[in-house]
Symmetry: C2
């Protein structure tokens, strides 16, 4: 540490120079995050001091967390779902698997999940001492349900399906997983961290939520397609009582028990998430999602015209291509299978798509 403090203007000139070293979102085509909506930032600032780790001190902010859970629960067809605001998909996935493990105490627990599962499940299984059994994908990069059935045994504490896979934007056959989960009495966790704010607003929605009776829990991240500030995740569970399995005593707080992973938790991104949901409404979210899907289709068509065929037709706004090189100045990413990947987030507007396509065209010329 410096012995003597730095003058404020010198400090902010330094911080601003660092911020300028970051890439601008305009060139970022590889991220599942996007600049927060202006109402999110405005709400965030109002709640910047708040701490949901001690809800009795912040009953107003705490009520907003309840409202967020109710809104997302309703969107997922279970208004009385249990839930809380997490730091993001990883925490949601860890907590869901913790619950599943506690509901079915076996000696050598395993979880059956698709090969497309997010790497957070690797962390979760490592932490919890649970074996991860990975199910191969079908040719369209969705979980192969028959092979999933073969991997399930008496020690399977949870089955995982993904809504909006990170690499290819696919939706696993959740309806069939729900049947298997009911049939074999297994906890079904749906990782909809990305797709949870896309799938409900598609022109032809694919069922994936609590309407399917086998779905036990859902992870959905307002800080991805919900255009909130970071960190804003949400874990929803069918039975709110399940959270008691995770509770620890919390002396010296205004509440006596706590089931969240973190202790101190920011209220600001929760207020931001609520603000976006309320401001947009279903109609507004449909318009955003519809724009992203339209841009995704245009990008795929344009790339195919340039000789870069799609790897698959995605269910949500992630486009992948059988080509490797992007023009300079753009950040795309590559899937493990070597396909170029572009996430059509709200900041990837039609103009951005056309500019990217023009640069692709120039590069190939």
């Amino acid at each position: 540490m410096r012995d003597v403090g730095c003058p404020e203007e010198e400090l902010f000139s330094f911080l601003s120079s660092k911020r300028q070293d970051d890439l601008g979102y305009r060139s970022i085509l590889s991220s599942m995050c996007t600049p927060p909506h202006p109402v999110a930032v405005r709400a965030h600032m109002i709640f910047i001091e708040t701490n949901l780790g001690d809800p009795g001190l912040f009953p107003g902010t705490s009520a907003l967390e309840d409202l967020l859970v109710e809104r997302l629960g309703t969107l997922m067809h279970r208004p009385d779902a249990g839930g809380y605001a997490t730091s993001g998909g990883t925490e949601s996935n860890i907590q869901a698997l913790r619950i599943a493990k506690k509901l079915k105490p076996v000696n050598s627990p395993n979880v059956v999940m698709p090969a497309s599962g997010h790497f957070s499940f690797t962390k979760a299984c490592d932490m919890l001492g649970v074996e991860a059994r990975t199910v191969p994908l079908d040719p369209e990069f969705r979980m192969n349900v028959e092979m999933a059935e073969d991997l399930i045994d008496a020690n399977t504490v949870a089955l995982v399906g993904v809504v909006g896979t990170t690499e290819y934007g696919m939706i696993d056959p959740i309806a069939r997983l729900s049947e298997i989960a009911l049939d074999r009495d297994i906890f079904l966790h749906v990782d909809a961290a990305f797709g949870g704010m896309v799938a409900p607003f598609l022109d032809r929605p694919i069922p994936f939520d609590f309407r399917l009776p086998g779905v036990s829990s859902i992870s959905v991240d307002p800080h991805k397609m919900g255009m909130s500030t970071i960190p804003a995740g949400c874990l929803l569970v069918r039975d709110p009582d399940w959270f008691s399995r995770l509770s620890v005593d919390t002396p010296y707080l205004t509440v006596k028990r706590e089931f969240t992973l973190a202790g101190t938790r920011p209220g600001a991104p929760v207020a931001a998430a609520v603000a976006v949901l309320e401001y947009m409404g279903r109609d507004g979210m449909k318009a955003v999602v519809s724009g992203c899907m339209e841009n995704c289709r245009r990008l795929i068509e344009g790339m195919e015209t340039l000789g870069c065929p799609r790897a698959v037709t995605p269910d949500v706004n992630v486009a992948t291509f059988r080509c490797e090189r992007a023009p300079p100045g753009w950040r795309v990413s590559m899937t493990r299978q070597g396909h170029m990947r572009i996430v059509c987030m709200p900041h990837v507007t039609r103009d951005v798509v056309e500019e990217f396509l023009a640069d692709m065209c120039d590069m190939n010329a």
Copy 2:
């Protein structure tokens, strides 16, 4: 969800009304958080869009995280310590125990920690399948080191000491724990989430950091006494290579491996934490800590004059009393032993202390 979006002014009138339901910090005497410093808020806003989960997209923000780790590492007498910005003390404690468990693979791992350990260790041990062995405290609420030695066995993967206990503000005898840790080759994690930003600035600092050769890792939270925005925690480790034990593959990101608990991580509170450290410098932090300690002493003296004796003389700015009732309008908390507890955070100014004492006096009159 609403079908149609809510007009912006109606939305913000609703959000503001909720914020008004929260308690103001002026009446909160029970929290280890405090309103963020103005430079923290200003820095937070500049970095509100940033995501440390994909550091290659945000190299400037990522450099600030490195700077935070270097500054705190230097403060803890190990400038080349490994580290990263966590969501807070709970994540730091979980990750430290994960490392300890991996460094010493045994069948039935246990952790030896003081009875004063934060409840986050209960969560961590539950998640990681590690037995928590709790060491009784001495009459001054510090860990009884002799009894700790008795609880250590071949399956002990970590020893935990606390710097600034949540309930009584005590500092465990870390120097002696360091000797034991070296002697018996055990990982020693120091939970300085609260005290890490207090102890180095005391008039008579008590050794607790990497200068003690047995200390393996330290948790310190800028969002507590570091006056940053939430969530800003930090885990420091003696050997940066240890993090590789936690790494998972991260395809489709700008980095290939990731050892953090969360994936998407906010850059804003990290910039805020750096801003406060740089703005304050050692001298500024000493002045803040000195003020908090002075107010804590004044509170204890004043309360004793009113017939409420101290439960113990604290090492850091947490005051506890052998009395139960606080005057109306103030939020204090109670320890498990039934002592009234007040945390003398920076927002608990001398004026606030005098006002509280006057109200205590009126109540007893």
